[in-house]
Subunit: 307 residues, 2 copies
């Protein structure tokens, strides 16, 4: 009997999202549960295994009927060997062979990769970059993460660390970045830096969603903040566009909620600064799958690993 | 009878280099002839066809015994359709179907691509990046050209324009670049900019080879010039390294002749600025094939096209 289902898991710092997917990675059922980020490694692994068992029994499915379980995880991962190198925001993980551990516990094939790659896979296969050949996907949040689809395949690099769009330097001199670098894109447009700027401009903390709303209502100071974010981002993306000549850039994550104010200025900056052919070839679009991208992309990992 | 030979041609602004290669693209015979850069399109095509005929008769070979003719050309090329879009430094070429034209004239299969891609293919297959999985190859000259080998294959991008390492912006504000961009790497380290700097520092024109020699003899001003070139280059390569996580960067072209002075400082800058895993993964090496890279890489195009 053909295996008809896939399970996709998106593990974040605060939530574990799990979905039962059909063979095309469309969501049949999804569920979100909080994860105690201070939980031990063992507790987190048990929580994952339990979540899998629950979704199986909910749909009365057997383990042998599942093509595989995919996981998108918040840290550097060795996709081929299925190893979690570490999680920047969850202590206690160091070179953990999570794929093998979970395969042993669940008796289902497992595939793991980092959240940015998983998001890129989802947007490329079923989202905003569908039909593209070369797609650059980025998520704007506390960090600026990226995943690269090149010649129709996820490109991981020589140590599974490709796609660090947030750590492209946009200036030779500038703010120190958390990564140890200087003047990285993330050091200008990470959520915290934008929040600092908001506080400096308005004299108080305002949530970024509210700053977006203010900009859409025409508030000049709020507009100036988003335009400055867009110019930094546009310069960083000019590097990516001239280097990789992609046909699609997908932008997701909280900051992308600023919408047209952000996207128009990013596109304008790329048209102004990138090479003509490159700028004309690429379209910059908003991510389509939102919070489902992680679960869907995790499911797609399973299909990639089976190839 | 198996086809035993390939012909590789490297067309530059001033010379046409042609080589008879064996099936592994090793050079059996090579020949350089001047090209009149003001020659008409028709004259240049005839010169190419004649050069092919000459090398065949020299070795008493028949056209049917040749696997193909590859050409590395100084401008943007559509590899799949075999079209030369234009040559920045040779007038009169506009969307010329050179592959078809030469196949008709010579009765031999033809493959064409730009010189940077051809160089990358050569250094990856038979040169300094042999054994790498992901290699970034750049040539430092009047322009800063680049070619990308990703997951073991030449990556061309969505409009055959990937690899423009010279047009990665290294600052948000800075000198205008010939490409229309701002503060591109090339606008800091293209040969002409270095020559301008040399003139400003020394009060007269000095050939760059001589500035290299002076630096190696310990001349502080000359050293400072190369170190500044290396820092700009190191920042641009930090973008490439964090984005693509390559295991090898190959640097060729005239400026690479500065040798250890340049390479040590480039490596130091990458170690200082790139992310830890990325910096540890990559080695920066000097191109190995020198002036033969174009002919060898052109031959390798033939093999790629037959696949």
């Amino acid at each position: 009997m053909a295996k008809k289902h896939i399970i996709g898991i998106d593990l974040g710092g605060t939530n574990l999202k799990i979905a039962l997917l059909d063979r095309s990675c469309r969501i049949i059922h999804k569920h979100t549960q909080p994860t105690d980020i201070l939980a031990s490694k063992e507790m987190l692994i048990t929580a994952i295994a339990d979540a899998i068992t629950r979704i199986l029994s909910l749909y009365n499915l057997t383990r042998s009927g599942i093509m595989g379980v995919g996981l998108g995880l918040p840290g550097p991962i060795d996709f081929d060997r299925g190893i979690v190198h570490f999680f920047p925001n969850i202590p206690g993980w160091k070179d953990v062979p999570l794929q093998k551990i979970l395969e042993k516990r669940t008796a289902i094939p497992v595939a793991v990769d980092n959240d940015a790659n998983v998001m890129a896979l989802a947007e490329f296969t079923l989202g905003a970059a569908k039909g593209a050949r070369n797609a650059v996907c980025l998520t704007l949040g506390t960090g600026v993460g990226g995943g690269l689809i090149l010649d129709g395949r996820l490109f991981r690099g020589s140590s599974y660390a490709a796609g660090e769009i947030g750590h492209i330097p946009v200036n030779e001199k500038g703010p120190a970045c958390n990564c140890g670098g200087i003047a990285c894109l993330e050091s200008y447009i990470g959520n915290r830096r934008i929040a600092q700027k908001v506080k400096a401009v308005f004299g108080k903390d305002i949530p970024l969603e509210e700053v977006s709303a203010m900009a859409h209502r025409g508030n000049r100071k709020a507009l100036a903040i988003w335009e400055s974010v867009a110019v930094h981002l546009g310069v960083g993306l000019t590097a990516v566009v001239n280097l990789l000549n992609p046909d699609c850039i997908v932008i997701g994550g909280g900051v992308a909620g600023a919408g047209s104010i952000l996207f128009n200025k990013v596109t304008e900056t790329i048209l102004l600064r990138a090479m003509l052919v490159h700028a004309r070839t690429v379209r910059v679009v908003k991510a389509k799958l939102g919070n489902d991208a992680g679960m869907i992309g995790a499911g797609l990992l399973v299909k990639e690993k089976r190839r």
